[in-house]
Subunit: 317 residues, 2 copies
């Protein structure tokens, strides 16, 4: 059977079963934003994310500094989602021999800029030649407490760290290859090219969140994963989902439904998490967007109606 | 300028300069077989190695279990070269959607088999779709003492952990795609497909070695790196370089110079290290192959003559 027929998550389920973990120091294995091990009582987080030319980025549309910045940011976001701080990166790269030195050095300048921003260091690496650009960063972090996807309980509030849908709109704009972009368009493109991981929230998440997930694959899909891991039902309140002005402008001009972008966009690198109502006050910069209830599945409350949100695609609100 | 003109090491030199490491817990950065950080007094090692289809392996010639085994082994070898034990792996993979599930599951069975053999665990991962198979393993290890490339001093003995050149002969045999192979041919092919990292030596290296390097890029080139890092001259004694019987048989039949294979073969995953003469007795299974002297460069003593061994290729012995 071809693996494409299983889908990404079906395949991962099959493969993970083949790997035995017998080491008692492993606190979290597969299935969360990071793995975690306990080293003399200290919790280390491991994560990794790859950027492939032609699949995750198109070279001619991607300034190399932005590519390096994003490579680091997407990994930091996974560490943040577990309540951690990034510490040490190890980079594995493949470059075609005909690639320009300027471009490669630009990538590394972006990596260094992001590393300084997030107060971490890339400390080692491995280089090979390849047919197209491969950038794979492995990141080790630390945390005082691991915040899993599975800790949400009914009665808690579900909170979103920021706007979603911007990156998808930004990618669409980038692909248009316009000669000139308006201000709101530039900001959307930047949201796609230069995402900023929410390291500002990490410490508070590790103190007050009961569960969290990096919603980089899209708000609906990843919230669905959190609901499933926690064994709860999550209900978004449509009125509370934050609508970004630039995204709204874009959608109005393009005749698109802004909720399509917000729920299914992806690559925004915001965090969705759950807290007790009492702890909401620690997150004044974030958006309480719904509630956690007994049951299963993800729903949207729109006025009096409560409709299921399907992870695979959204049609009517 | 195209990066191909710089060569792998020239490129790495340029790129590493762009990455600042300010974290005082980083004990070893770029330029050794592993990076190392100190976590509450415990030394952690980080390494990573990628296997690309068409570049590091040819799918139709590589049983998937062997591919998984090798992916782990090449990383363990880097940890061993620093005197460490492998602990936790994180795997980043790219697979074409049309790839067969059998093949992918075979790779993971090989990874698990190797993980059990080396008493480590692969505890997390990341999956993407790609045009050809990408397997990237990041490995974290621990060590009581970091054995660098740079610790060799004159008067010490240079020691080789085992035979070299077998893997290259094995690859050549594999590429012939013979219908049937003789016994010595099968053993050479196995040396290429199923290398075994020398974890058995790790503890002793951490106690008694002054320097060490994984000679996976070839004995001459990697010994040259160790000599350069240590600021010493290394002289191999031709009579003491261990000649494998199977390799000798292969070279005689093929009309090849066995020392070409031994010095430039690569992918053998043996360790070259230096020790005080007094400590040689702890390594009865290894081969003392030469001496460390004041000076620079790598030489071969053949009878009375001492000839330079150039890293880039070998012509006459």
């Amino acid at each position: 059977m071809e693996i494409g027929r299983l889908g990404e998550f079906g395949l991962i389920d099959r493969l993970v079963k083949l790997l035995e973990i017998k080491d008692p120091s492993v606190v979290v294995g597969f299935g969360d934003d990071c793995s975690a091990v306990s080293v003399d009582g200290k919790l280390l987080l491991f994560t990794g994310d790859i950027q492939l030319e032609g699949r995750h980025f198109i070279k001619k549309l991607t300034p190399p500094e932005d590519l390096g910045w994003k490579l680091v940011s997407v990994n930091v976001s996974d560490v943040v989602a577990c309540g951690g701080k990034p510490e040490w990166g190890f980079i594995s790269v493949g470059f075609p021999p005909e690639l320009g030195l300027d471009y490669v050095e630009g990538i590394y300048r972006g990596i260094n800029k992001a590393s300084r921003h997030y107060r971490m260091s890339v400390i080692g690496g491995n280089t090979t030649s390849s047919d197209s650009i491969i950038l794979d960063l492995f990141l080790t972090g630390t945390t005082r407490r691991f915040i899993p996807r599975s800790g949400a309980t009914d009665g808690q509030i579900v909170v979103l760290s920021g706007y979603t849908g911007l990156a998808r709109a930004g990618l669409e704009l980038l692909m248009m290859e316009k000669k000139e972009y308006q201000g709101f368009e530039k900001r959307l493109i930047d949201a796609f090219l230069k995402p900023v991981a929410r390291l500002d929230l990490s410490e508070k998440l590790s103190r007050y969140a009961s569960s969290a997930i990096d919603i980089s694959d899209g708000l609906a899909g990843d919230t669905g994963h959190l609901a499933e891991s926690s064994g709860v039902k999550i209900v978004f309140d449509k009125e509370k989902l934050p609508v970004n002005e630039d995204l709204l402008t874009y959608c109005r001009k393009a005749g698109k439904n802004v909720y399509d972008y917000m729920l299914y966009g992806g690559e925004d690198y915001q965090i969705l998490f759950s807290v007790d109502r009492d702890n909401l006050r620690y997150f004044p910069e974030c958006f309480p967007v719904g509630s956690i209830e007994k049951g299963t599945g993800l729903f949207l409350k729109d006025g009096g109606r409560e409709v299921p949100i399907r992870p695979e695609g959204f049609t009517h609100i």
